[in-house]
Assembly symmetry: C2
Homo-oligomer: 344 residues x 2
DNA sequence: AGTTAGCACTCATATATGGTGAGTGCTAAC
DNA sequence: GTTAGCACTCACCATATATGAGTGCTAACT
């Protein structure tokens, strides 16, 4: 059975009412507040059909109708209008996402914070997965008699370093030689590739003399590479959940917050999401991780290469149009910021 | 009126019962479960006196007694026994707080996470304030034609860096000269002191030629110094609050989580706390920030110099003895870890 | 055939009612 | 000073009743 034009109008009205009030929508209020020029009885008949088709549900016999996930999906895919952000809001976003000092992580944190502030939802952002990032330059620098700093620069411009206490003496020439050798060996390799290289053996062949030094440094080098693969997760607006009536229930709030507390699983979910603006609704999400929630994510880019994500999570009843526009406007801004400044 | 020996015994029993059950304690169950060899009626008389002295309160006429903040203070200061951690727990703590790769921040994060796991409370940790940390070594390194890395090593062993895109050409000699000059100017200065130095003018005198380069780099240098002063706050076990019956109420849970959400204020509170193991109970804490909560914090040291803090926050009804022991054992471990490895 | 008015029915929510029990406070006796 | 006894309080729980929003169905209307 196909959905009729009038049914579509009614469904849209129900979704719109429910999104703004959170209360099941009854036939009478529908015919009053929207100019559907038919009587409540007719609307009831149509609603009954819509329910049969799976677009509506019924919390109990004497309650109004509530849109199902399927209805939201229809709405998001076809019925939703593009929401134009007010200029004022655009200005706020642009202003707050500027990044004068190359402080990439801080900017992302700010973005998450701003997003939750504007949407009144819980927001999160992940930094890019760097496994596609290539190593560019490795340097081991002297600090004092027993300390050196290991510095790794990747082609995206990210610099990572670690201070190491050595338990053997070194001289600057050796460090320079080691730096050169490491750069030569790893340059152009992605981090993932680099992790598979058995460097100790590689080095031994041509620089036996330094093997002691290398043995000291290499485990830390590899560990640092591993750390570079870590994705950081930022969240904000956790307590916004309490302002949403549906979650004004200790158990739901608890489930929600516990789900977010499990950062590892959440990170996995985020990392594995497709790129671009993605909306997943209710049980489209893995049920055990986040029941009855919708998630909207979009991707931002650093210098057009590394891809991170930012988004919100909230009840299936959310203002999909507004939130989507906010997120997309923010990612546009982030892309510009991270292009001009050349990423960190 | 002074508190009698017997009253003290009764008070202790009430506190102990209330801490473990969370229910107001009645006279009958007291005389049954503790060997106070007097009848419930006598206990009632004593309780009435204790209430008059401000050690107990009464939720309503027909309920048992509940210890007041004043009672907890008395308990913590004088009556509390030292709690010996089970060997097993000690082993777990020691094992999980080892830090093989100098990953200071990760270790602190782990510590907070472990602390909330063991105590079932909400835990937090702040990294040391570094304003007493001295600068040791500053280096500006070439990366590619337009990028340099600014590296700052402080005497505590911490290394900080930032990648900078320059909008003027440079040559390696200039960088080396600048590095030398910066190191000469700032070495031995604390970060706070360093921030007050008008370096541009200092430089101009003896290295005019490089002023363009310096103008490019110095704002970022100062910004980086500012960032080094930032204190990081880690939290864990946020959702533990839901397992505490007193907070099984949407409003209290909300207040609690919103208070923790305000990281700036929380950080301020933590930073301004005295060093050593500090217990603050209920309204001893700033009322608007955390009503009806107790807080236990202790300090850890990096190389005996920089001082950070770790602690828990929870209901006034908490196992002060156990929690204190856990925190103190953890800070001991952290101190060792950060001494052996020499800090980061 | 589609639309509508009318009406019985359902059920969550709110409110009132009474019973239960833990615990107190007081009095009088030991 | 201690204790038994007893009336009293009050949160808590279960049950009963009222309310009202909203449905589903039927029969009449266009």
């Amino acid at each position: 059975m196909d959905i009729s034009e009038r049914q579509l109008r009614i469904l849209q009205a129900i979704i719109s009412d429910f999104i703004s009030t959170g209360e099941p929508v009854g036939s009478r209020s529908l015919s009053k507040n929207h100019d559907i020029n038919v009587s409540p009885a007719t609307i009831r008949n149509e609603m009954s059909d819509l329910e049969e088709m799976g677009y509506l549900t019924h919390p109990h016999t004497s309650a109004g109708r509530v849109p199902s996930d399927k209805a939201y999906r229809l709405y998001v895919d076809g019925m939703m209008q593009k929401y134009e952000l007010p200029e004022e809001e655009k200005k706020i976003i642009s202003a707050r996402l500027s990044d004068d000092f190359n402080e990439f992580e801080k900017t992302i944190k700010k973005a998450a914070s701003l997003l939750s502030e504007i949407t009144n939802l819980t927001s999160f952002a992940i930094t890019p997965t760097q496994n596609a990032d290539m190593l560019k330059y490795i340097n081991v620098l002297p600090v004092d008699e027993e300390t050196v700093v290991l510095m790794i620069v990747s082609s995206s411009g990210r610099v990572t370093n670690t201070a190491l206490k050595l338990n053997c003496p070194y001289n600057e020439e050796n460090l320079a030689l080691l730096s050169k050798n490491l750069t030569y060996t790893f340059k152009g390799k992605t981090i993932s590739e680099a992790l598979t290289i058995d460097i100790i053996n590689n080095l031994q062949s041509d620089m036996q003399a330094m093997s002691k030094l290398a043995e000291n440094i290499m485990p830390n080098f590899m560990k640092t590479l591993e750390n570079m693969l870590d994705v950081n997760l930022y969240m904000d607006g956790l307590t916004n959940i309490f302002n949403i009536p549906e979650f004004n229930d200790i158990d739901r709030a608890k489930t929600f917050l516990e789900m977010l507390n499990n950062k590892e699983d959440l990170t996995k979910v985020l990392v594995s999401r497709e790129n671009g603006t993605i909306i997943t609704i209710g049980n489209e999400n893995s049920k055990d991780i986040m029941p009855d929630c919708s998630m909207i994510t979009a991707t931002y880019e650093i210098d057009g290469k590394l891809i991170g994500k930012i988004g919100v999570i909230g009840p299936t009843r959310m203002k999909y149009d507004e939130v989507t526009s906010v997120i997309e406007y923010m990612t546009e801004n982030l892309n510009n910021t991270f292009k001009l400044s050349g990423g960190e």
